[in-house]
């Protein structure tokens, strides 16, 4: 449960992986994860493969991250979404601001 992160150096990709419930309780942990991204990170990715549930505060956290890192629309990838998670992101029209898979 919670947040883990990994930096794939050669590709310059910084991945934040969320496990279990992606909700309000992860707020600080999630912020710590993107604020501590290495400076040579060229690409940010949220790996949702192990997310069972996402709530509205998680949506807020994703928007905050995009704004804090000053990323343009489509620059933040949200990957490995389950059908249910994807559905929530679509309801929130997140596909306009994020690249969702």
């Amino acid at each position: 449960m919670g947040i883990s992160n990994r930096f794939i150096k050669e590709a310059g990709e910084y991945q934040i992986a969320v496990t279990g419930k992606f909700d309000f309780s992860l707020l600080n942990e999630f912020r710590d994860a993107y604020e501590s991204a290495p400076t040579d990170a060229k690409k940010y990715v949220i790996d949702m493969r192990a997310v069972d549930m996402i709530d509205s505060s998680a949506l807020g956290m994703l928007l905050k991250m995009k704004r804090a890192l000053n990323l343009a629309d489509g620059e933040l990838d949200i990957i490995n979404c389950s059908t249910n998670v994807k559905k929530i992101l679509m309801i929130a029209k997140f596909e306009l601001m994020f690249s969702i898979q």
């Binding site: 707020l27 069972d52 509205s56 807020g60 490995n80 929130a92």
Partner: protein, 549 residues
């Protein structure tokens, strides 16, 4: 020990009979070659003393036939002869005789010859027994091999097969391969692949593939990251296999869109990523030691990542290929393999053709496996919708009444555990979970606890909010929250109705909507978008929603 004395002269027979019987042998006599053959057929004879010159059938012919009857069993025949030594020996040996003794018989010599041959016969019998044992053993082993190999096939059966995406080829050295290729769909799309090679070959190497495939399938099903799968496999290999055995492996993940390729590559020969549009070849070197070498604490789960498209092909193979030798015992060169990959429209075919021609005339010394992955988007797996499922269900109601003390528990999690795996709801579990979470946090945080939404904007505010939330949860008095869930099946579909009510603060929809920033307000929109009907009553203390399955 039973000795057959063959002689046409009575006196000769009885001398030998008497002497040998006195020495404790079991003696049977025959007065002609023909009779001796009948006896050998009937009795378990251990040694034959054969006269040479007899009417009708002589000793040589009788011996030939006796040796035929004895076939693989060693039945020594000693000729008793008055002939001169040299010619007797020659003839006797030609007829299949084993020894001879000249007349007049020296009983001492006869006795030692009998003893020597009886020892040889015993040895023969023992060797034959062992041989038969081995044959039986071999038959059993073969049968067991068949069974076990069936077992291995079954264990690896969950594999995904789509020739357009993944192709593989293996040449095991024996019935069992120490190489493993597993390809499986990931739950949220995409593919997970394992290609690996256990130390050695044959059954001992193949044994490792069982736990490895089980762990791999299970972890993919659980959506594990490939670095974590590698870590767990390392643990299992360390735990289950002897120290000198390890598992060189490539764990590969392709995204559903076919645009991201991740690989944990340990102890394997170079893998290659070919862009067929530009013929650019990227070499993927092993970044790690094989699985089962490192202790868990020092294990490195880092992966390599490649952004790919439909023109990319990944090729990975085991060292049976990259270490193939030719008749001069020179190993195949990487350049040759690379040349076979670039520009080929059938990579496996051209690489295997190279292998076959290079190692021609050399006995295979290791299992060989190769896999080719085309980085194409994967079509979503079609899960059969099952309206019959719903048709067969009956409506139900569940009501939960949660008071002060119980509100501290994760009520939503409790409900999800209760109904989430109910078959008709299963595919909607995540959405229902989101819905309940939104409804519940509105009811608890804003209604019962009376917290203001704007506390969630900064780190300090978050901490403050949480502390305040805790404090209020601890000092709750006479609070009550009721959740009523109704499952109502219809013809093809069903509705899940949720009514959540509480006795806390009244709920002003406009207030919440006004605070529409990053963190809030979105919840209301989600509820409205997910549900068919959303109704508030009792000044917002009661909300009733309907979710269609």
């Amino acid at each position: 020990m039973k000795i057959l004395v063959v002689d046409d002269i009575d006196k000769n027979r009885s001398i030998l009979d008497r002497y040998l019987t006195a020495k404790g042998f079991d003696v049977i006599t025959a007065s002609s070659g023909a009779e001796s053959i009948v006896i050998v057929h009937q009795e378990e004879i251990d040694l034959v003393l054969m006269d040479v010159k007899m009417p009708d059938m002589d000793g040589y012919e009788a011996t030939r036939q006796i040796k035929d009857i004895a076939s693989e069993n060693y039945l020594p025949v000693i000729f008793v002869t008055a002939l001169s030594e040299e010619e007797a020996l020659e003839e006797a040996l030609a007829a299949g005789g084993d020894d001879f003794i000249s007349k007049p018989i020296s009983f001492g010599v006869l006795l030692s010859k009998i003893n020597a041959h009886s020892r040889i016969r015993e040895l023969h019998i023992e060797v034959n027994r062992k041989n038969n044992e081995l044959i039986t053993h071999n038959i059993r082993l073969n049968r067991e091999h068949e069974l076990v190999s069936h077992f291995f096939d079954q264990a690896q059966k969950f594999c995904f097969y789509d020739e357009k995406i993944v192709r593989s080829f293996s040449i095991p050295m024996s019935t069992f391969s120490g190489d493993t290729i597993l390809v499986v769909r990931r739950p949220h799309g995409g593919l997970a692949i394992l290609i690996g090679d256990f130390t050695g070959h044959g059954l001992s190497a193949a044994v490792g593939t069982l736990p490895v495939s089980q762990v791999f399938f299970q972890m993919v099903e659980e959506n594990a990251f490939i670095g974590d799968i590698a870590r767990e496999l390392n643990k299992q290999v360390n735990l289950l296999l002897p120290v000198e055995m390890f598992f060189a492996a490539s764990i590969i993940e392709l995204s559903a869109k076919g645009d991201r390729l991740m690989i944990w590559h340990g102890g394997m020969p170079n893998a290659y990523l070919l862009d067929q549009k530009t013929n650019e070849l990227t070499t993927i070197k092993s970044a790690h030691l094989p699985l089962g070498v490192r202790e868990q604490e020092e294990f490195d789960d880092s992966v390599q990542l490649f952004y790919v498209n439909q023109h990319h092909k990944l090729v990975s193979f085991t060292d049976g290929l990259s270490e193939a030798e030719n008749t001069d015992l020179e190993m195949i060169e990487a350049d040759m393999i690379e040349d076979a990959i670039v520009g080929s429209d059938d990579i496996i075919k051209s690489v295997m053709a190279l292998y076959q021609s290079y190692s021609e005339g050399i006995a295979q010394s290791d299992d060989v496996s190769i896999i080719e992955l085309s980085c194409l988007p994967l079509e979503a797996e079609i899960k059969p919708a099952n309206p019959a499922n719903i048709k067969a269900t009956v409506p139900w109601n569940i009501e939960l009444v949660v008071n002060d003390y119980l509100l501290k528990n994760d009520v939503v999690q409790n409900i999800i555990e209760l109904i989430g795996d109910y078959t008709p709801l299963k595919d909607h579990k995540g959405i229902i979970h989101t819905l309940l979470t939104e409804l519940y946090s509105n009811a608890l945080d804003h209604g019962i606890l009376g917290l203001e939404g704007d506390a969630k904007n900064s780190v300090e505010a978050f901490d403050r909010y949480y502390l305040e939330r805790h404090k209020r949860l601890d000092s709750l008095k006479d609070s009550c929250l009721t959740v009523k869930l109704s499952y109502l099946p219809e013809e093809q579909t069903a509705v899940l109705k949720i009514i959540m009510s509480h006795n806390g603060r009244s709920f002003n929809l406009d207030n919440i909507k006004a605070a529409d920033d990053d963190m809030h307000g979105r919840g209301m929109d989600l509820i409205n978008a997910i549900c068919e009907e959303v109704d508030y009553s009792d000044e917002g203390r009661c909300v009733s929603v309907a979710y269609r399955i």
